[in-house]
């Protein structure tokens, strides 16, 4: 039985001046945390817009939770929750009012807003105007809002983008908790360590095409090599690939000069991104 909750088949999106997506295909299994990574302008936002019904693809088909994102767009709203990359809240409203507005639109009782504010740890500040909240708190309000229709898939666009380390850590815990509770999470991020820590699988997109899909571990193993870093007593540093066939000889030579420190460096997703796209993170 097919367990895919998101299926994208040959998605193409052409704008008058640019081809944003050029045959994007991938699938996401139920319960996964799936990351879409890529440099700026690679097609991450266009992909998320198509999957959430905000933009119609020029060609191709996408199905989310068994719902066609174009022909069944009206049904799609109840299957997904979307958290945008910037705070999309009514700043003058309280956190609770921001949520009750969407409860009204989804036909949910207002008690759902209280329940969700409790779950994201904002019950005590529910009545505070959003404009008086920190960016981390706003992000939590947006997640609570996205969860109102009890979505099967939660889309997060740059969820930790502008957060301080503590807020980012809190948010990552929250995302993990949601995934553990059975929600499928689809996120885009330019913070590779976030993707590394959170995602079961990631797809790397470059110039509108998917160039790799695998778990972070597999991607690193396939596309980047661990390094050996050598620091000599005179302060000089040398980095050697662990896969180098003459590594032993080279280390012996360096040892004669006096090795102060020797360490292995594991490859990161940043290295993978660089290797696969030739460009830095977006």
């Amino acid at each position: 039985m097919n367990n895919d909750l998101i299926q994208a088949h040959g998605l193409v999106k052409r704008y008058p001046q640019v081809v944003a997506l050029n045959g994007v295909s991938f699938s996401v299994e139920a319960g996964e945390i799936f990351g879409l990574l890529g440099p700026n302008g690679a097609g991450k936002t266009t992909t998320i817009k198509i999957l959430t019904g905000q933009v119609r693809p020029t060609a191709g088909r996408a199905v989310v939770g068994g719902i066609d994102v174009v022909s069944e767009r009206e049904r799609l709203h109840h299957a997904i929750g979307v958290v945008f990359d910037i705070p999309t809240l009514y700043e003058e409203h309280s956190a609770r009012r921001n949520l009750t507005l969407f409860c009204d639109l989804f036909g949910e009782p207002h008690s759902r807003a209280d329940e969700l504010l409790e779950s994201v740890g904002l019950r005590d500040v529910a009545g505070r105007p959003v404009r008086k909240m920190s960016r981390g708190m706003k992000q939590r309000v947006m997640i609570a809002r996205a969860l109102i229709p009890r979505p099967r898939v939660l889309f997060l666009d740059e969820p930790t983008g502008a957060l301080d380390p503590e807020s980012a850590a809190d948010l990552k815990r929250l995302i993990r908790r949601l995934a553990d509770g059975g929600t499928t999470v689809f996120l885009t991020t330019h913070q590779m360590e976030v993707a590394d820590q959170l995602c079961n699988r990631v797809a790397i997109i470059n110039r509108g095409q998917i160039v790799a899909v695998a778990s972070p571990t597999a991607l690193k193993r396939q596309n980047a090599v661990p390094l050996v870093q050598v620091e000599l007593y005179d302060g000089r540093r040398t980095t050697l690939p662990l896969s180098d066939g003459q590594l032993g000889d080279k280390l012996r030579e360096l040892a004669q000069e006096g090795i102060a420190r020797l360490a292995t460096i594991e490859p990161t997703l940043e290295d993978v991104l660089l290797a696969l796209t030739g460009r830095g993170r977006g």
């Binding site: 959430t52 019904g53 905000q54 933009v55 119609r56 174009v70 767009r73 009206e74 709203h77 109840h78 997904i80 979307v82 945008f84 910037i86 999309t88 809240l89 009514y90 003058e92 409203h93 507005l101 969407f102 009204d104 639109l105 989804f106 809002r145 229709p149």
Partner: protein, 351 residues
């Protein structure tokens, strides 16, 4: 295309709730109200001020001189405003610049002296207290001069002119209505830029419902604001239903102009810039009503002119559904054309 009225109602209620905390919007609507109220206070003459009267004929008679010099408790009662002819005198009355127009027979002095019958005609605003004073003084003069030789008759014809405080009222009401042009970019384009629109469109809200809710919000705020300005200044008189109908159609026209700008220009700053640029020309029609020549002709091309004229006619008691129908049709034609353009713009953008 299925429209959910419940969704539209929720969005309109939300926008109205937000508008109560929007200071720039409150200023936009509050300033015309405040200024109109201040002008009403300033324009209301004190009880000791002579009543302005125009003599449409017989102004050079001895009777006219006596009438102008009449006093009560040592104070002059009337102030005769010089006029060229009866046409100008009547114009002054309809514009509220005088409170009565009096037609004296050219031979009034000789008639009174010879004991012939004298018929004096007065046209007054029947709501004006000043007119009562002017007529009282006139009657007194006629009685004193004609004492031994009646009959002297005074015919009073009511004509609903404008009080000084009401002269600017139609323009203030139109000013509030025109604010719909800048209100729409302020709310629709802002929601688009701040991705609030995107957040709503991934909920069960269609683009058409979102736009329709914004238009209804604009209509309620501008039409309600204009009605409040008139109500607070005692301007819903004459034919109030005609006034309200024109306010509603005018609000729709200006809101649709703002909506079209917001739909065609996606950048917030550019949309607000364009709306501000056309805000002043749209006000032109309200402030240059009745101006002769090219200035008046240009004024007649703006929707504000028709709303202004209808409110003016209503205030001076000459408005009827029939008399205002051509202007209403002109406004509705403008609104219809704008509606078609807005529907096209919505369809262009909707998924």
């Amino acid at each position: 295309m299925r429209l959910r009225l419940r969704t539209i109602r929720i969005l309109v209620a939300n926008d109205l709730q937000l508008s109560l905390r929007n200071w720039s919007l409150l200023m936009l609507l509050g300033v015309p109200l405040l200024v109109s109220l201040i002008m009403s206070l300033i324009a209301n003459p004190s009880s000791g001020t002579p009543v302005k009267v125009a003599l449409a004929s017989g102004a050079s008679s001895r009777f006219a001189a006596r009438y102008e010099a009449a006093t009560v408790a040592g104070r002059r009662v009337v102030d005769v405003v010089p006029t060229r002819d009866s046409g100008q005198a009547m114009k002054l009355l309809t514009r509220g610049e005088v409170e009565a127009v009096i037609f004296l027979p050219d031979d009034i002095d000789q008639a009174l002296a010879s004991g012939r019958a004298v018929a004096v005609r007065a046209v007054v605003d029947d709501r004006s207290q000043g007119a009562v004073v002017a007529l009282g003084a006139l009657r007194e003069e006629m009685r004193s001069l004609a004492a031994p030789t009646p009959p002297v008759t005074l015919t009073v014809e009511p004509l609903r002119g404008l009080t000084p405080a009401q002269i600017m009222l139609p323009a203030w009401a139109v000013t509030v209505l025109v604010s719909g042009v800048t209100l729409m970019p302020g709310t629709l384009a802002r929601d688009r830029r701040e991705k609030m629109m995107a957040a709503l469109l991934v909920a069960p809200v269609s683009f058409t419902e979102f736009v329709l809710a914004k238009a209804i919000f604009g209509l309620i705020v501008t039409a309600g604001g204009a009605a409040i300005v008139l109500l607070a200044n005692g301007g819903l008189t004459g034919a109030p239903l005609v006034t309200l109908a024109f306010i509603l159609i005018g609000a729709a026209v200006f809101t649709l102009i703002g909506l079209l700008i917001s739909l065609l220009i996606e950048d917030l700053q550019a949309a607000i810039g364009v709306a501000t640029m056309i805000y002043l020309p749209l006000l032109y029609g309200a402030f240059f009503v009745g101006t002769p020549g090219i200035a008046g002709a240009i004024a007649r091309c703006t929707p504000g002119y028709y709303v202004h004229t209808a409110i003016l006619h209503s205030l001076n008691g000459t408005a009827t559904w029939r008399s205002e129908l051509p202007d209403a049709l002109s406004l509705l034609a403008m609104g219809g054309a704008l509606l078609v353009a807005c529907v096209w713009a919505v369809r262009r953008q909707d998924l």
